[in-house]
Symmetry: D2
Subunit: 391 residues, 4 copies
């Protein structure tokens, strides 16, 4: 069993495991590994899937799979098993991670064994079986959905959520207060980054600062929980090509993403940022979502992160209020922002005639194209002439 920060009764889990027939039970504390090896690069790269999803489940899978393969190695296992369904992403994420670490491991996936899945048509059938056999399970008829939780997030899917037009019941959300119920007074905090990583969170209300990697997360989680930050509800595209509805709470992650993106505005070169956004952010997000962490392409993509984060050093001041994370200011010693140079109130060493030259050069090929359009009679200045594609 992997402790990746979920709120769970590990002792009860152990008891249950041994009661249903496990020979041995292993609990591995993978929280720090989870934060520093998976969450950190994803944060540095601003990973996000389909514009919205912060990849909380995807991020935990490689760490859990690594822990499993480590135990399998130690215990000399030839086979491992998992309870993922045959339609989801997690089966792929676990198994590809297993194979990337230990290519000769064999996997038993009951939900993909015909004898099993013809006996149990889905989660409801299995819940009925568990009830009959008195095996305690968290998902109940009262909470008709399944969840996955860790230090970074919780997910909700299946059950009543399968109708994408049904609003999730208010009592579904577990990790955050509803914005409506959050304090009506904003709270200010600040986060310091070094090389794109959060090295210090300062919480004036608590008169405290936090610097430990795991503590930074738990602190921000509790602040976000209090202020109703980090809920999303989406329809996403699974790796196997099925659309699926998921609800997620990513409390700390939502705050950290806002702060990190903001600080990059102040400290990251424009062209590095643009290239990183288009390639690393998008590709690493896809790699994570599809469970391709232990692959050569992941090694390739993450190898570019350090050079993109060298200058991402500074402090971001934030206001937390009823679901909102508002940047109120940011500062850095990097010196890529130059107040005098960008000022509209002084020349600041800038020679405006240079921009005339810049614009003239930039316009060379545009004028050529416009002249050709005119020559061919394909141009005018009426709206209908200029907004189409001339094909």
């Amino acid at each position: 069993m992997a402790d990746v920060g979920q709120e769970e009764d590990f002792e009860a889990a152990q008891k249950k495991a041994l009661a249903v027939g496990a020979k041995k039970f292993f609990l591995e504390d993978l929280k720090r590994e989870f934060v520093t090896q998976l969450i950190y690069p994803a944060l540095q790269a601003n990973c996000i899937y389909e514009n919205v999803y912060l990849l909380g489940t995807s991020l935990a899978r490689p760490v859990i799979a690594r822990g499993m393969m480590s135990v399998a190695d130690r215990e000399g296992c030839d086979y491992v098993s998992h309870g993922c369904t045959g339609k989801g992403n997690d089966q792929v994420r676990f198994e590809l991670a297993f194979y990337g670490l230990k290519p000769d491991i064999k996997v038993i996936a009951p939900w993909r064994i015909p004898d099993f899945y013809h006996r149990f048509a889905g989660r409801q059938a299995l819940l009925a079986y568990a009830a009959e056999k008195k095996i305690p399970v968290q998902q109940t008829a009262a909470k008709p959905w399944s969840t996955d939780e860790n230090l970074f997030h919780i997910s909700y899917e299946a059950g009543i959520l399968e109708d994408p037009d049904i609003t999730p019941p208010t009592d579904m959300w577990k990790l955050t207060t509803a914005p409506e119920d959050a304090p009506s007074t904003p709270e200010r905090i600040s986060i310091e980054f070094k090389a794109g990583l959060p090295v210090k969170v300062t919480v004036p209300e608590q008169q405290k600062s936090f610097t430990d990697a795991v503590e930074v997360f738990t602190t921000l989680n509790s602040l976000a929980r209090k202020h109703g930050i980090g809920r999303i509800d989406i329809v996403e595209n699974r790796f196997i090509g099925v659309k699926s509805r998921g609800c997620y709470e990513s409390p700390a992650a939502t705050i950290l993403r806002v702060a990190h993106v903001d600080l990059e505005g102040l400290t990251l070169d424009r062209n590095v940022r643009a290239l990183r956004d288009q390639f690393v952010t998008i590709e690493l997000s896809r790699i994570l979502y599809n469970g391709h962490w232990f692959t050569p392409e992941r090694e390739f993509v993450t190898s570019a992160i350090p050079a993109s984060q060298r200058t991402v050093n500074g402090l971001v001041r934030l206001k937390l209020y009823k679901g909102n994370v508002v940047v109120e200011g940011r500062s850095s010693d990097e010196g890529l922002y130059d107040e005098r140079e960008s000022s509209m109130d002084e020349l600041g060493g800038f020679e405006p005639t240079d921009t005339s030259g810049f614009i003239q050069i930039e316009s060379i090929r545009i004028k050529k194209w416009a002249q050709a359009n005119i020559r061919k009679g394909q141009a005018g200045v009426a709206p209908e002439d200029v907004y189409g594609s001339r094909v």
Copy 2:
């Protein structure tokens, strides 16, 4: 003068223009052109610059430039002029747009003429001059920043905002209520899209629906204003390579983007979405920001939008509350989402053994890579072995 939806006293502007020496004054209502020719494709393509900025100023420039060139054509002008500074984006956006439409036009840009800019070192110097000459201007010592406003947004920059660590004063924001002052009761609305465009906004509280393109915008603007939606505060990278701090309010645009992105989850094919995000969204955003609207690359990029939006049809239900835009449900007749197929509770025509094959095939090259790592002694299952790049 272009009416692109800004709150402005056009009569006063005309008087002022004629008073300071203009021979003629033209006012063009470009609101509909602005919405349908610029905002619409940007919305369909989910355009956003550097993860945060919705491009409100950039979007209006091509329409204003088109209007100017139309008047220049009609009036037989050889020269046009503008008041953009020599350090900003707008000079580039205007002039490249001019040249893309009328490559032989000449531009007079006083802020880039040494005689002028040595006489007036910046906006403050010019404000002083205006005061002295009794020319009425909106920017004052009391509101020490400059703004640009249209139907889509307002921007604030310069003045005290040039220190990126100074929180904007609460009375700066013009288009939206502060979330703290917004109603404590959420409001529900729904937006219907056809081919990725908002064709109907329904506001139950008003017992009304709006279908006209401009009205959809003004309605959503007033709803967002009421609920404190659409403020951002960033440091961005200007086209000329200078970092700059800007604050923006994009009320309707913020709501529409959330709704459109959400509906694409339900109705857009995964691979089209991924390609569109990586290429069209990013490239069109850059094109817009850099003022490259009237260029062959813009024609090229926008020509791909219709094929990406054919299936983006449906309804999104939203909750507006104190700065938050929360999707509460979405529906569509497109049929790409299949509740039975994605269900965790039934097979739904799905054969889970297929996924076993899928995973085996997906793992082929990963296993080969893992076996090579092992053969070279470059692999293990300890954390330190697996998370680096093996180079």
Copy 3:
């Protein structure tokens, strides 16, 4: 049976089909459809897989699949079958194309039915069976490889070619003369393009011109054959993740690609070209290779082609000589190239001081970065200081 331009005895094929038990035999001439619907967009987009392979087999599959589904529709078939092996690309290409056209079709793929593939371990086993049963087959012990041929190319794989270090025997190549045996006198031709498509090939030696789409191909094929043009020998990555060695001859296609790429230099805007190369060329090549032609992403990607080819009009003069396709000159009326403007011998309306401004503006962020490096002591001008990544 599909006639996609392969050199084949269709009558013998029909006889064989009926002799081995086919109830009916259909021969469809798909050559024109192949050229105009598949080859043309691939040529316009400069499609190429992994830098080398011109996709000849991939291009024919959608056309053949469309022809099959058309017959299946007409004849009311519920099932279709194909003889592709279970390890290759073509099974995927055919079946995904079937499903994209007729999603309810059922496919029988003997090479993936255990009873079949345990009876026949591979092509050699099947050749033995065919010999025993006196079924005539083209592949023989003397020519121990398999081929796929059409108007665009021929492929060779399997058999002795499976060792990637074995040089293909000289008598394997079928469509082209060896460069060593080609004429020792070069031959000149010219190709005229409209909207990126070859509309006229002029062959002075034959005192003839060719304008018909299919004839353009057959003419260029015979010229390339004569001059030893279009052979490649590569190791490529199949869609299923297995590496595989293939040899290909693409005679006409090789000439056309050289000419089309060259003409784009003269007639295509720089930024359109760059975006097209990075997105359309690469994505459409991958789509083709992986058999994703009848998909929404293919419709999306090809929808951008016309806007990229509007200006690709002109004439390219070529020299063909012993495997070489040499561009000797090109011309166009598009007017994007301006001899005076690019001239090093006159100003040509160009103001060199503009470039000073351009360079100054371009250097703004670079200087800022260099100053920061110096401030941090991370810079110098010794080689070892400047070529690394400073991380």
Copy 4:
């Protein structure tokens, strides 16, 4: 003066420099730095501009600029100067490189000083002046073009080449024999790569091997020269947006690129290769062409190269013949290619039924899309129905 491998009389150059007024003359041997710091990463990344140009001039500029800044540092120079014209790429490449290394350096560029360029309208005017003043120059009326040469290539532009339809005269080409005049007997060589770099060239005809980085280049240059390999003639897009015609000979580079690309087929993971091609190859090529070597984005992009080349180890066997570089075989110990697995003649541990599952999963979203098309009446199997974009 920088020795980057050009064939030049450095003593004569020194004499000339001192004769026309230089106070001091410095000659720096930068050949090894050129090969190992610039050419190597470009080769590893398969850099190429606009599909054709191997970037020979671009590659030398950063090395020369670094050498100049090193001398400027040593000698305490505040100013440097160069003779690049105001319309070309090299002025940008040199100056941006200067600023990236020494942001406070001042540049004197006579061709952009009005007094100078109004006195001398272009290269012809300056040649006349040189003749009058008896200053010896290489470019003459007999060879009316300008050249740039180094270890990697030579370029020809301007003069009669400015008409893109004029075939370059046969006596222009300097570094290679015409294919027509090359030996009629092919020559075989082999190149061994480690981490994507050529570590050994074996030339059986000479019974010799070469392992030194510079010697590898000079050896391949002389082989390519002999066999007529590496000429191109193109119209390209300069950074300033002007189209320009250039002819280039890149002898060794052409051979090395063919060999490197080929070996990657055998030894590089498919997904790494695809990502590298789309991002690193294209972006680094653009960075090089535009003179952005000493920038943060270059550091970012090159930081990803090592992880892409870790497995590119092996031997490529080549045939050189009259302009052709033909791969005759390749081998490697990396083990990513598995002859049994890819074989069409045996199962090789492969379970073909897995592919059935793979295809079924791959078809899920395609079938959904096809069903939706059918439901909307937007689909059929006639050619005209299926090849368009349905918009």
